[in-house]
């Protein structure tokens, strides 16, 4: 068990290093750099100073090496766009994305898995309607979902039309601030959760369909186990294996931030920060965002392993052996 997790942690570290280094190198090697943000009228000496300040006058390898050494001391450099240390910007954005991701995950889980159990174990109009709705949710691009939800919010006034907090919450206390965030959360969370819920539903349905035809379920049925007990205690638990693998990855992907949803709904998260950094070729901010995304992906992978460990006795036995 211990060695297993040491291996996983080593892999996670490797993932973070690989992702952030690749991001830095690719941003550096892509055409254009941050000095184009200075405008046409920027003087050559100003361009040169900016390039020197952000190590663009060094070779990509030397820049990567210097950045890696500093990053090992948790100094991720400075952002060109914000003229602030990258670390602070990422911490704030990652926290915002985490709030959004957890809300989306909760919605997707609470909607997708029960619906998957229904469609995987039943036939009829209801199951058909759920399947159709899932396919629709999977087919609509997140950009369109976000704009559609934003449109509904703007026309009805039911929800705030974007942002994370409203101006009125600025002077309010913590409780009012949290309530205000909770009011802003449903729109982007739904935009993220709908396709994910549909994915969970489809996967859960497939797993359930396969499981309920397994001999141990038939045997339980022969023993007189019926209804919800058969469905939940026997079939669903056994079907969880395939869900666990995808669940961890979904956590990682959600926590890494969705730039489309965050961009359209003006949610100040990691995805939006990464997008803006990429647009401006803000090389250290890109690398920092990628590193944080890598951390989250690795975290998701570990969660996935843990869930599999808990859900599948064969994994535990395998580890023990």
């Amino acid at each position: 068990m211990g060695r297993f997790f040491v291996r996983r942690l080593a892999f996670a570290l490797l993932l973070v290093v690989a992702v952030s280094s690749s991001a830095l190198l690719l941003t550096r090697l892509a055409p254009g750099d941050m000095t184009s943000e200075l405008g046409l009228r920027a003087r050559p000496e100003e361009v040169a100073r900016t390039r020197a300040r952000f190590d663009l006058d060094r070779s990509p390898a030397a820049q990567l090496g210097g950045w890696a050494l500093r990053a090992a001391r948790f100094d991720f450099g400075e952002s060109f766009l914000y003229s602030r240390p990258v670390g602070g910007l990422i911490r704030r954005a990652a926290g915002n994305t985490a709030v959004l991701a957890l809300a989306a995950l909760a919605i997707a889980t609470l909607a997708g898995i029960p619906l998957g159990i229904i469609t995987g174990s039943r036939r009829g109009a209801l199951a058909g309607a759920i399947r159709t709705a899932s396919l629709v949710c999977l087919s609509i691009p997140p950009l369109l979902t976000s704009l559609l939800l934003l449109f509904i919010a703007s026309r009805t006034g039911w929800l705030p039309t974007g942002g994370m907090t409203s101006v009125d919450a600025v002077d309010a206390g913590w409780l009012a601030w949290m309530l205000d965030v909770a009011r802003h959360l449903p729109l982007p969370a739904l935009a993220l959760a709908l396709p994910l819920a549909a994915t969970f539903e489809r996967l859960q349905a497939q797993a359930m369909t396969e499981t309920i035809h397994q001999p141990f379920v038939v045997a339980a049925l022969a023993r007189g186990v019926r209804g919800r007990q058969l469905l939940i205690d026997h079939a669903w638990r056994a079907s969880l294996r395939s869900m666990c693998a995808i669940y961890g990855l979904a956590i990682g992907a959600l926590l890494s931030g969705s730039f489309v949803v965050e961009y359209v709904t003006a949610w100040p998260g990691l995805g939006r920060l990464m997008y803006e950094a990429l647009r401006a070729r803000d090389v250290y901010l890109v690398a920092g965002c990628a590193a944080m995304g890598g951390v989250f992906l690795a975290f998701g992978s570990v969660v996935s392993d843990l869930l599999l460990f808990a859900a599948d006795p064969r994994v535990r036995e395998g580890q023990t052996a």
């Binding site: 055409p31 941050m34 100003e46 109009a125 934003l150 026309r155 039911w158 101006v167 359209v264 803006e276």
Partner: protein, 581 residues
């Protein structure tokens, strides 16, 4: 559970939700209480405005991103300012001035009783310090170039605490207009940074807002990166309304950072936003008008834009690396043929949905001070275009629809434009269609902004279609574009051997820059426009009519064709107190 019953319940729920949605979108006006509103501006209230991005610095002498202009107009002051509606220079922190007989020396009398937002009195020392900071080598201020005449900096001295003398090294046609960009920064706050050589990093975005002081109508209260900035009323602001009311009227301005323009429009329509920083896009005009019919928005016709989309070929010979097509690209007749080939009325109709007028040069009718209506024009004439091309030896010899020279080199070009901007992509598609009629083939290459800019600066392109912004209408603000050795001479960067017509423009521009008589300046600049239109290094087709939408509850909005469209006049904005949003 009966499946049918469940289905019926779900359907009923969907129908009920749809009905509530329909009611909420169709009846708000009926449900709203009758209100009486007054057009007399009153103190108090707040507005919420928005923009694509936030600040990179709070130091106006350093920051040159678009937000810096908004920030300084809200929080800082200058001796004089250019009025964004009349384009005339008007007194600001200097209440009056005297000019010497030779026009080189201006003596400014500072407005008495003005203080910084922290209560420290404003004196001539602050003006001298600002000029010193701008020209300090370590401060890296981009404003330094603006405040030079013939490459020499202006000089500032003080007679006393309330009198500043500014001397121009050479006669300057734009004169006082140059001082529109001389933002005054507080000596008592920034002197230490200048002495320490760290002025360029002073007032970064992590500076506590309470340390940022100014003489503008508002003071920065809070900045949350990627979310918003909050500006509170500056109680020490010097300006008063005509009736004696202390300005600004508003208690607060909130600036939300909304990266997506579609989302911004939805928020404006819903009433969550009061103002934006940009005009309506052509596609947004109809929904904004609908919202105006409902009484939630006001849509103002601002006028014709002083900026226009530019189409040009790379005229830097080295960039073509011996490509035989440059032999005809460099000929004015080739560019004139393009100008004749384009039906500008149709272009305006298809690209700007009719809300645009044809133009033939970079100075549009939107620039009321400098537009010259007699600029040479190329009215749509396909036969003339074909004749000009034939005169250059360009004919469709193989019947494939594209003209080629005698050696078979086709007039086929890749045109770079900015990705994601609707009217650029539509404009290029329209040009491609229209130029195909005379046998010129264009292939569109939309690129994202950073890549496009880099390709332009490195002269790594064949042709380009984009638009450049400007903060003033005076040709002096575009000098680096007009002069062949200018940093923004974008069709031929690093032009060391200008063509005779370019050399003539150089001479005329320098002459008008040194001419104090404004009528004479105009006549000289008309000549520049004539030469430019005859040689067409850049071709212009249409300039859009600008429409600006804002919340109907906001009063005092005087939208400008320059940006920021509405916040240039922030101290005069107010909200209807008795109304509802």
């Amino acid at each position: 559970m009966n499946v049918r019953l469940f289905g019926v319940l779900i359907t009923a729920g969907i129908l009920a939700a749809g009905f509530v949605f329909w009611r909420s979108t169709t009846t708000p006006d009926d449900a709203a209480p009758a209100i009486t509103v007054s057009d007399v501006p009153s103190r108090g209230g707040q507005i919420v405005t928005s923009g694509r991005a936030g600040p990179r610095t709070f130091n106006r002498l350093i920051g040159q991103e678009q937000f810096s202009q908004v920030l300084s107009m809200l929080t800082q002051g200058r001796l004089v300012r250019v009025n964004y509606q009349t384009f005339e220079v008007e007194p600001w922190l200097a209440e009056k001035w005297d000019v010497s007989a030779d026009g080189l020396t201006y003596t400014f009398h500072l407005r008495p009783g003005v203080t910084w937002s922290d209560g420290v009195p404003f004196t001539s020392e602050d003006v001298l310090f600002s000029v010193q900071a701008i020209f300090d080598a370590k401060s890296e201020s981009f404003i330094a170039d603006t405040l030079k005449v013939e490459g020499k900096p202006i000089a500032a001295s003080a007679r006393d605490a309330a009198t500043v003398v500014i001397t121009f090294p050479e006669p300057s046609g734009p004169g006082l207009r140059l001082l529109d960009s001389l933002w005054i920064v507080p000596k008592h706050k920034l002197e230490g940074a200048l002495k320490a050589g760290t002025f360029a990093r002073a007032w970064g975005t992590d500076t506590p807002p309470s340390d940022i002081v100014g003489m503008g109508p508002f003071v920065l209260r809070e900045y949350v990166p990627n979310q918003r900035l909050i500006f509170d009323r500056n109680p020490r602001y010097w300006r008063k309304a005509a009736d004696g009311t202390s300005l600004p009227y508003l208690d607060r301005i909130v600036y939300e950072i909304i990266p997506d323009q579609d989302a911004e429009l939805l928020r404006l329509q819903s009433g969550d936003l009061d103002l934006t920083q940009s005009e309506l896009r052509p596609d947004d005009y109809v929904p904004a008008r609908r919202a105006e019919d409902k009484g939630t928005l006001k849509v103002a016709e601002v006028g014709l834009s002083p900026q226009a989309d530019s189409f040009w070929f790379n005229l830097k010979p080295e960039a073509w690396k011996g490509d035989p097509r440059f032999a005809f690209v460099r000929r004015p007749e080739f560019r004139q043929a393009i100008s004749y080939a384009v039906d500008r009325e149709k272009f305006a109709e298809n690209v700007f949905l009719g809300a645009a007028v044809p133009i033939w040069g970079p100075i549009t009718p939107g620039n009321t001070l400098w537009f010259w209506p007699d600029v040479p024009r190329y009215f749509h004439d396909v036969n003339k275009a074909k004749a000009l091309l034939k005169g250059l030896g360009l004919e469709d010899r193989n019947g494939d629809g594209v003209v080629e020279d005698a050696q078979g080199h086709e007039a086929r070009f890749t045109v770079i434009t900015q990705r994601g901007i609707g009217w650029f992509e539509r404009g290029l598609a329209e040009l491609r269609t229209q130029l195909a009629q005379v046998g010129i083939a264009l292939e569109a290459a939309p690129l994202e902004n950073a890549t496009m800019n880099q390709r332009m600066v490195k002269s790594d392109y064949e042709a380009m279609y984009t638009r450049f912004g400007s903060t003033d209408v005076d040709p002096a603000s575009q000098l680096d574009m007009w002069l062949s050795n200018g940093d923004a001479h974008f069709w031929h960067f690093g032009d060391t051997s200008p063509e005779p017509w370019e050399a003539r423009i150089d001479a005329l521009m320098k002459e008008q820059m040194a001419t104090l008589d404004q009528g004479r300046r105009k006549a000289i600049f008309n000549d520049v426009q004539r030469i430019f239109a005859e040689n067409l290094p850049v071709i212009y087709f249409a300039t859009p009519r600008m429409y600006y939408a804002y919340n109907a509850r906001v009063q005092g909005v005087k939208p400008s064709v320059l940006r920021p469209v509405a916040l240039w006049n922030a101290d005069m904005l107010s909200v209807r107190q008795s109304g509802t949003r």
